[in-house]
Symmetry: none
Subunit: 228 residues, 4 copies
């Protein structure tokens, strides 16, 4: 939850699913639906731990169904990825939109970065999805694309306020967030929290800030980084 600025009403965030479905047609049979849910739930855990390339075998085992069932329900890996992460990505967008409600621009940006890393750090799959625009299908991609303007707004605000390095771009934040999110280990799953303030201080505009060199990361870079 965003730290509410005092006596300020927070913009209501629209959490409703934007109906991007393209004719999945009729509903599943009751048992099929149950299995579908079991699979999704299992995959959430498995993908969170092992990433998007985790074996369907493991998912099936965790769900208590046969592999075949997983493949029938999700013939392409991307189908499962979609089912798992469309909502999560939506939630990330919502997060950025929520952050817009924080009055202080720097706090807004910082809060968002923290939240978004917190989400990704505990979920390797989510981190890969956010980084790799090629993952999942149309629906997921669309959700993902909505992050850009939302984060762009946070960034623009901070830039206007002169609190962030002026040449930081949206994908720079994505890169930094994605690197921070990797800083999670068995021994210290929240290791990233130690480095977040360093990243934030580094992003902050200072009298002596040198201009950033080179161009910002591009989608293709992000994709490749996410696939590592």
């Amino acid at each position: 939850m965003p730290p509410r600025s005092t006596k300020q009403s927070v913009v209501e965030v629209d959490q409703s699913e934007p109906e991007l479905d393209l004719g999945d047609s009729r509903p599943l049979r009751a048992d099929a639906e149950r299995n579908r849910r079991l699979i999704v739930e299992a995959a959430e855990t498995v993908f969170a731990e092992r990433g998007l390339m985790a074996g369907f075998d493991e998912v099936a085992r965790a769900a208590g169904v046969g592999v075949g069932t997983v493949y029938r329900r999700f013939p392409q890996r991307d189908d499962l990825i979609d089912a798992l992460f469309a909502d999560r990505v939506q939630a990330m967008v919502a997060l950025a939109e929520s952050a817009a409600a924080i009055e202080e621009p720097w706090q807004a940006l910082g809060w968002f970065l923290e939240q978004s890393v917190a989400e990704q750090a505990g979920d390797r799959g989510l981190a890969e999805v956010l980084g790799d625009g090629m993952r999942g299908s149309r629906r997921l991609a669309q959700a993902r694309e909505r992050m850009l303007p939302a984060v762009g707004d946070l960034l623009a605000r901070a830039r206007r306020a002169g609190v962030v390095r002026p040449d930081v771009e949206i994908l720079d934040l994505a890169v930094i967030g994605s690197m921070l999110a990797r800083l999670s280990t068995d021994a210290d799953p929240e290791l990233w929290r130690r480095y977040l303030p360093i990243a934030l201080d580094g992003l902050r505009q200072r009298p002596d800030s040198a201009p950033l060199v080179g161009g910002a990361a591009r989608e293709a870079d992000l994709t490749q980084l996410a696939r590592r």
Copy 2:
């Protein structure tokens, strides 16, 4: 090369190999030596791209020799890792020692971080070796261990000078360097250069620096991160 502080003579740094060899006995025959070099060169490329777990098959193919030849020369993967990286790690130590010659503590630290990331970036193998103390054999481990005091000195100096956040520890630098080193893509192999100043600014002591939370990374964390 270190940026020389003005009008100051720089201490001569000893770059000579400290003779860690343990009885490799006599030199290889000419053809074997040639193949060895082919293999090492091929492995450099392959490991740089695919990491330490790249297939020996691929190395052999790239070197234009049979698999058996690779196994004859390097019966254990660690033998090949040693051959590839012992010098590189030595060079990293030398780098840290070179940096000691830079008068200005902050510059020394920054220069070292830059150099060390430059080495690791684009060489996934080296990055894995530096992160994962279990890789390679004794000789490599020894070389790697020498980094700690060398970097420790740089850090201590910066801390005494009050220019670095006082609670940053050596392994924090290793973590940050290792993350930066990952920021290298086909499209922009030097992407990391854009984020280095951000990291450095974030490491710098400021009047308003908040203390870092949690404990610094431990060896085990570093290892796990490197294996990702």
Copy 3:
């Protein structure tokens, strides 16, 4: 079948499987069962010819299935060995127990030796299993261990009757049986039948029998001989 001693009814021998199964749980699917049988049948031939270390690849080829299938069904070589030989070893025990029903002690021993060699001859795999107590898993080992008392009884009876050399021990019989079993060739698979009476005559107590020298073979000897 044991040669019945005249006008004497023979004790009914219990040939039923003594239920050693440890929760194999539910039966295999029809196709899996079919493949399992194909594999076992193929392995019978292959192991009979090449011994227990025959390649899984060859078994798979002979069975007309992929290697993976063999590994799925029998992840450890010992699993396959068990499946192939547990019943065979059981049958050998039953053989010894059957022999107990033969009234004449010498005939009982001879009949058993003949039957047991007949089983082993031409089946290198079985011979190795019987000789090498380390092969196969628990279940097989247990079955194998039951041979000792059963054969011991036959031997004791013959000794009490004074028809066998008094210093022959159980493992001596195992050694002799195992050597005889090797006497099977493509040209004459039953070559051993020629040497069996020689061995038996040699085992028989005679007025002039010299005592045997040295100690009897030990398990370790038998194991090593079987591995040859």
Copy 4:
């Protein structure tokens, strides 16, 4: 040495090399000759332990020369086998001829069997050579062939004296000797001595000896048995 029968002069055994060499032409250079000897000596040990298929690599290592040297001197495995075993086989022939000097036919046969097994038991290579007529080249084969009449004489004499089962043939003795020779383990290298009297007693003609069934072993059988 044969136990000399009293007051009987022993036939002088011709130990001289029968010059079967076919133009090996000129003598080796001094160093080559030295290496040849080193190799043969090493191979004696190695083949004795591991049999005729032992790796040339191992022989080379034991000899302290390169593998290439072994292959140069003995391009075919059979060449080395010849060099190693021609004399040994000669010696076996001599043994049989020596045995002829023993007056008592049964003792002669028994003594020969004991000696010949003793030779083979300690030398797996020799055992394989004696069994497998295809091993080695012409010269060795010729030496080997000379065993037949020599042993044949011992056997004929015993048969005439009525002390051996009348239907035992020469190759039966070879089979029995070869099986006995296998009864040698690390724990008890002379295990075969325990079973030799059993075999001998079994070969002995008794009032109640049943005729042997089937035909005697043929060369082909012996060969296959030796290759096991």
